[in-house]
């Protein structure tokens, strides 16, 4: 991974603030993501991690502070958010003029044969793969992921995490992965941020060798550190 210098940043945010009523949720967040870097954003429930992602995705007009996200970005949400009245291929092609890019993206997530299906005909895992294909077809330099595996069953989640690893290796996109799953963060990312009381409270590089697995050396210690930062005590 290249070091983060001003030249190769794809996402840069300074002093991002957002309040809901009198309570500030984000209270001056600074965030840098370098080209090709995958960053996890962890935090307790209600810590504002999804709020931060929505701000970066341009979906929250009420936020203040300065932030720059390239126009070539794509978002994958926890729910697939496919338009039920468009066939799979047309969902992937939403706002993309080049059709071959859509068929390629669909093939990459292994659903080339489902191009003419309606979203209601897909399983949960398939629909989420289509959502990833929709993001890929935009050839993003940064992916914003809001708990994209959170609504899937355990087995499908593992397969999707592997798929994400393969896609990242092939395309080299940067990504911000909002998650509450510490293991997921350690498996998939280069750096883990912990959001607490409206600011980035910790910035932890994840220096583990690939391929990663929970039973590899160093994984457990890092997991423990992150859980401590998130305020989850060790079981005695």
């Amino acid at each position: 991974m290249a070091p983060r210098t001003a030249g190769n940043l794809v996402v840069r945010a300074r002093g991002v603030r957002r309040a809901f009523g009198p309570t500030p949720v984000l209270d001056g967040v600074d965030l840098d993501i370098a080209g090709g870097e995958v960053v996890a954003l962890l935090g307790g429930s209600g810590s504002g991690k999804s709020t931060l992602l929505r701000i970066l995705a341009g979906l929250d007009a009420a936020a203040t502070g300065e932030f720059a996200v390239p126009a070539q970005h794509a978002v994958v949400f926890q729910e697939h958010r496919l338009l039920p009245w468009k066939r799979v291929i047309d969902n992937v092609g939403l706002g993309v003029s080049d059709r071959s890019r859509c068929t390629d993206a669909l093939a990459e997530v292994g659903l080339a044969d489902r191009a003419r299906a309606w979203p209601v005909e897909l399983s949960g895992g398939q629909a989420q793969r289509v959502a990833f294909a929709r993001a890929l077809a935009r050839e993003p330099s940064v992916l914003l992921l809001d708990e994209p595996f959170g609504a899937l069953d355990a087995l499908t989640r593992l397969r999707m995490q592997q798929l994400f690893g393969r896609l990242r290796a092939r395309h080299g996109f940067a990504a911000l992965l909002v998650t509450h799953d510490v293991e997921e963060a350690l498996l998939l990312t280069d750096r883990a941020l912990v959001l607490d009381r409206g600011v980035i409270a910790a910035d932890l590089p994840v220096e583990l060798d690939h391929p990663r697995a929970p039973d590899r050396p160093g994984f457990g210690a890092l997991r423990r550190r992150l859980l401590d930062l998130l305020g989850v005590p060790a079981v005695v």
């Binding site: 949400f77 958010r81 309606w118 399983s123 935009r138």
Partner: protein
């Protein structure tokens, strides 16, 4: 109405439901046919006086006679023209105002309160006022139909737009779609089921308004045919008029259903069972 399907349901093979559906449809025709048969039998046995309610076969014979000499066709055409014009005017207004109120906050503030107030008036009670305003001629009938069609279509357009899942609109925004493209790809298709429901109710209200409108000072139309027949105690012609109204209602509903099934094919998976 939810627009997002439960993602975990696998849809079963599509071959099986077709047969089930056909059987249900055939069963639904059974009771109307039975009622008609009973009516016919009772009329023939003399249980129902012919001047109060003629047998269905008599009504059909009268219909055939009036259809052959062209009377029925002419009156039907006049009624259909009124219904179509009224629906077009009322429907267009409803679509425009409903969309503006549904899409824009300012439009909602300006348009919705007066429409909600006007809705409380039974529009058929406006006939005396309409006669003073636009006279007793053709424009009164068309205005009445337009008024009847306006409200159901307005409310369903409004509700259809408001019920659209905001998360889908957001997803479309992250795909880089501008406001007009979002309306085209998300709002319009998302509101379509509601629009169809509104249209179906609007057509029903249009027929109802037509019946009332055509019974005041008219020289043509199915309603006139019925009023004239009453003067001469031709019960069969009166009942024939009712048959025609019922047939028109059924026909318009059928056409709309076919159109709906074509346009809303994406819901097939949910509707099959």
């Amino acid at each position: 109405m939810t627009l997002v399907a439960a993602p975990d349901t696998e849809v079963a093979s599509t071959a099986a439901p077709g047969r089930v559906k056909r059987r249900i449809r055939w069963q639904r025709a059974l009771s109307p046919v039975l009622i008609l048969a009973l009516w016919e039998a009772a009329a023939r046995a003399g249980l129902i006086a012919a001047d109060k309610l003629p047998a269905p076969s008599t009504v059909l014979q009268t219909g055939w006679r009036l259809a052959r000499d062209g009377t029925l066709g002419d009156h039907l055409l006049d009624s259909l023209t009124r219904a179509a014009l009224g629906l077009l005017i009322g429907g267009t207004l409803a679509l425009i105002l409903g969309s503006v109120a549904g899409l824009l906050r300012a439009g909602d503030d300006a348009i919705d309160p007066p429409v909600q107030m006007a809705r409380m008036l039974p529009h058929l009670a406006l006939v005396p006022l309409l006669i003073i305003w636009v006279g007793i001629g053709e424009s009164m009938k068309i205005t009445l139909v337009a008024l009847g069609a306006f409200f159901p279509l307005y409310f369903n357009t409004y509700a259809g737009i408001r019920d659209i899942d905001q998360r889908l609109v957001e997803a479309a925004r992250t795909c880089g779609l501008g406001a007009w493209q979002r309306i085209r790809h998300v709002v319009l298709p998302g509101a379509l089921p509601s629009l169809f429901l509104g249209l179906r109710l609007a057509i029903g209200a249009a027929w109802l308004s037509l019946v009332v409108g055509e019974q005041t000072n008219t020289q043509n139309g199915i309603g006139f045919l019925m009023m004239e027949a009453r003067e001469f105690s031709q019960t069969d012609v009166v009942v024939l008029g009712l048959f025609v109204y019922a047939g028109l209602g059924l026909l318009s509903d059928l056409l709309l259903r076919i159109l709906e099934r074509r346009t809303l094919a994406w819901r097939r998976g949910l509707q099959a069972t």
